[in-house]
Symmetry: C2
């Protein structure tokens, strides 16, 4: 068989059976080989940022990588921003990037670029397959390494793909996450027993595990430590029956206030927090100067086991305080961001996957959904906007039996709006709520911080999405997604309820005050 | 003044007075500074690929760079594909890429990435400004170097932008393109006098100059050499009154046939041709093995002067054969690709700028427009699809008094469809014709080449844009661009005529056979 066939069979054998694809000429043998390996599901996207963002969302929910199929350096480049988000969230992805045939590589053809530099900037593992005999083993390595290193990129020259002489390779055995030593657990337990103000700061695998969250709640109940979560998690499990878990706020002043007086910060699956950006005369991190940072489990270690062990050592008899089931009442009247959050809290279906790229419009959202039925929450981990709609595609492919709710800021939605078409084509059960405030509101806030917003008309125009206003209903229907527009809280509730009840994708354009 | 203000004043002083912008938090002081420097026109785009593609189109038509404003590594990443196209077309661009404040850089905040590797992969010049005192001189260098090196990227830390102590710097003197030595011209003239079959292969600045084309026609008339142009030029001037200039065809077999028997290939502004991709059992270049390649003027040298000098030496008394004014008749009936080309040829306005990302739908397009009134033709130089609509934005900003006609394949249009919004916001005089065949037709051709198209249903689905069909009328109106749909040749003619006559942007969805 040829290299492409062996590659796809190897991926499938290793459990990678979804490929988000934007193929070009150099990937045609890979595309042709899809007909020989029906176990591989090819999902077409209209832009590479959709493919990589979908792979990010898929990995977060499936717990294993999808493949992407990208077209040389420029195709990879289009997917880099969402690979950045996946890398920041430690989501495994296996990129297959087609390249020129080996004999063509030195000719500097128009699509030639420094592909290796582009791939290297975002990949934890990178290899170029140099012969059909190697490509299957290379693919097996890519899958295995993605579990530990996140983004694994395999560069596939066209002739390695089309030449015969390849055979599938067996999957590589997975390497379990490193365990935290009992002495580390004991040390942290001693800190917790000190009675000094302590925050147990959770992230990564810990916030994605009900067992770990219950154990963390037990620690908090038994020791008086406060629980706090990193601001943006790849996947957090939430809802009634779990301990209350406040996120570290995004704005620097609020983050600093949230940690004031903390003497010990214990990291479990999270890194020590830093502000998203530096600002004049603001320290780079919210951690107080006299606070000692302790690492219970670093990202990549088995944080779930570490927190459970900590609960046994530090608070064996304590019982976690758990959130009771509660929902806000459906609001009426003006459709404010908070009313939108209340509608979401009131209607969030059981086992929903919430994809959160809501940014400034998420007023009260965490609080108003905290008592909802159990759900997963996917955040923007790397700050590269435009991951929301693609992640919703990937989450829906990974979890066809679960409703996906994408809460999406308008400016960010436009980065990868093409994702709507893939939702329609694959008939994914995704409900998109566009928080349509007609501006890059987060940037308007930042502009006012730098003291330029008052009379700065030209500057302000660079942050405003009006003139013309975007019509998200037209955009969605233009890509085959049924869409409606809500201008009151009642309309949003009615339309969201209907969208969640019907199978397939829907979009609700929630027109917020900035827009009207 | 602060670094951002000095930077913008320096750019304006050096003639860079347009900035295609996708700012984020780290660029807020740059945005704020726009209010202090009204000479700088900020043009907001909704995606970085639109900003960089607009800068590409602007440079091709203005003959000088625009600036882009991009947000850290991920923002730059989103713009890389069209920077690749600009690099391949030798279009100058000055990227200003905001980065974290110097003190924040080492904290590995979520948006931290290997920005320098990303920038280095596409830039001919790259510098990181390290203090407010340096930033203006750095900007002046960037503008000067962009003339010679194409993409100049200035990385601007947020605190270098916001700190005081900066002053504008004077523009650097431009460096003229190197002149070709008279001995080189004499050597080429001797080749042309040999009487052996010779092709004068034109590209780069030569095809953008009426004087150079007339001189090349004189050479052809006087020596019997054939004229041929590179397949994809950054900017070619065309139309009645110029010599006929055939492009080297894209498909390898046709390119090989076009050069069969050629003993001498004389390069003027072009590089020696290679196929876009390698294929099994096809040589990488169409140049016959026994053909000698001579360089009259390499890209970056003054090819216009070299060709004019060659005409004086090799054919001083010859007169070029020139195309007479002619237009095809308006076609009737079925809207085939050829009918579309005839409509364009019949209606192309004087001094139009044609942006060509038509790909497979451009059947007969070159022939049917060759006798039209004088116009400029911008092609996809780097093969990274999604440059067409952004280039049209940039060309229209550069040439507000000229009509811009964007002939745009449907699949490629979706890569940077957000460009339509900027056309509407800036009320640019752009007419977009979408060649709506409902597929990645160029890839269907390639798939059939690899012998998989006959019964390969799953493979074929990855190249088909149906299920659901894209509704470009809805997409355009959703972004504020008036749009109509044409399903016959008569409708296309009527709608194109109306769109060209009215100011501001318009889109015509030309529904071609594959789609119906």
């Amino acid at each position: 068989m040829n290299g492409a066939q062996a590659l796809i069979r190897t991926l499938v054998g290793a459990g990678v059976d979804v490929c988000f694809a934007n193929p070009g000429t150099s990937e045609m043998h890979f595309v042709a080989a899809l007909d020989d390996v029906p176990e591989m599901r090819g999902v077409l996207t209209l832009f590479e940022g959709v493919a990589t963002g979908a792979a990010d969302g898929y990995a977060r929910m499936a717990g294993k990588p999808a493949a992407t199929l990208l077209h040389l350096g420029p195709g990879l480049a289009n997917g880099l921003a969402n690979l950045h988000n996946a890398r920041r969230g430690r989501a495994p992805v296996v990129n297959v990037v087609g390249d020129h045939a080996r004999s063509h590589k030195r000719l500097d053809a128009p699509l030639e670029s420094d592909l290796d530099a582009l791939a290297g900037a975002v990949s934890g593992w990178l290899r170029r397959s140099l012969s059909p005999a190697d490509v299957a083993a290379d693919a097996a390595d890519a899958v295995a390494e993605s579990a530990r290193r996140g983004i694994a990129t395999l560069v596939l020259p066209a002739d390695v793909s089309w030449e015969d002489g390849a055979e599938p390779a067996p999957p590589q055995p997975g390497r379990p996450a490193p365990q935290v030593a009992p002495s580390v657990v004991d040390d942290v337990a001693a800190v917790l027993r000190s009675g000094e103000p302590t925050v147990l700061f959770l992230g990564g695998d810990v916030v994605g595990s009900e067992a770990a969250l219950l154990a963390a709640g037990q620690v908090a109940a038994g020791t008086g430590a406060r629980l706090m979560a990193e601001t943006f998690s790849a996947r957090a499990v939430r809802g009634a029956g779990l301990p209350e878990l406040t996120k570290l706020p995004y704005p620097p002043e609020m983050a600093i206030a949230a940690l004031v007086g903390t003497r010990h910060l214990v990291l479990a699956g999270a890194t020590s927090p830093v502000h998203f950006f530096g600002y004049p005369d603001v320290p780079g991190t919210p951690v107080p100067e006299d606070c000692t940072v302790h690492v219970l489990a670093a990202p990549g270690e088995d944080g779930v086991a570490a927190v459970r062990a900590l609960a046994q050592v530090a608070a064996p008899d304590a019982r976690a305080e758990l959130l009771e089931a509660s929902r806000p009442e459906l609001p009426t009247g003006e459709l404010t961001p908070r009313a939108m959050s209340a509608v979401v809290g009131a209607l969030l279906p059981e086992r929903a996957v919430v994809v959160d790229e809501v940014l400034t419009s998420g007023v009260g959202l965490a609080e108003l959904t905290s008592g909802a039925p159990r759900h997963d929450w996917l955040s923007l981990t790397g700050g590269a906007i435009g991951d929301g709609l693609p992640m919703a595609v990937g989450a829906a492919v990974a979890c066809p039996d679960r409703p996906v709710l994408a809460l999406q800021a308008d400016g960010s939605a436009m980065y990868t709006i093409q994702a709507l078409w893939t939702m329609a084509r694959e008939q994914l059960d995704v409900t998109v709520v566009v928080c349509d405030n007609g501006s890059y509101a987060i940037l308007e806030n930042e502009l006012s911080r730098v003291g330029a917003a008052e009379d700065g008309k030209r500057a302000g125009e660079l942050l405003h999405l009006g003139g013309p206003s975007l019509d998200f209903v037209a955009l969605a229907t233009g890509m085959g997604v049924p869409a409606t527009r809500a201008t009151t809280a009642e309309e949003l509730a009615e339309q969201l309820r209907a969208a969640l009840a019907a199978p397939g994708p829907h979009l609700v354009d929630a027109v917020l005050p900035g827009r009207r």
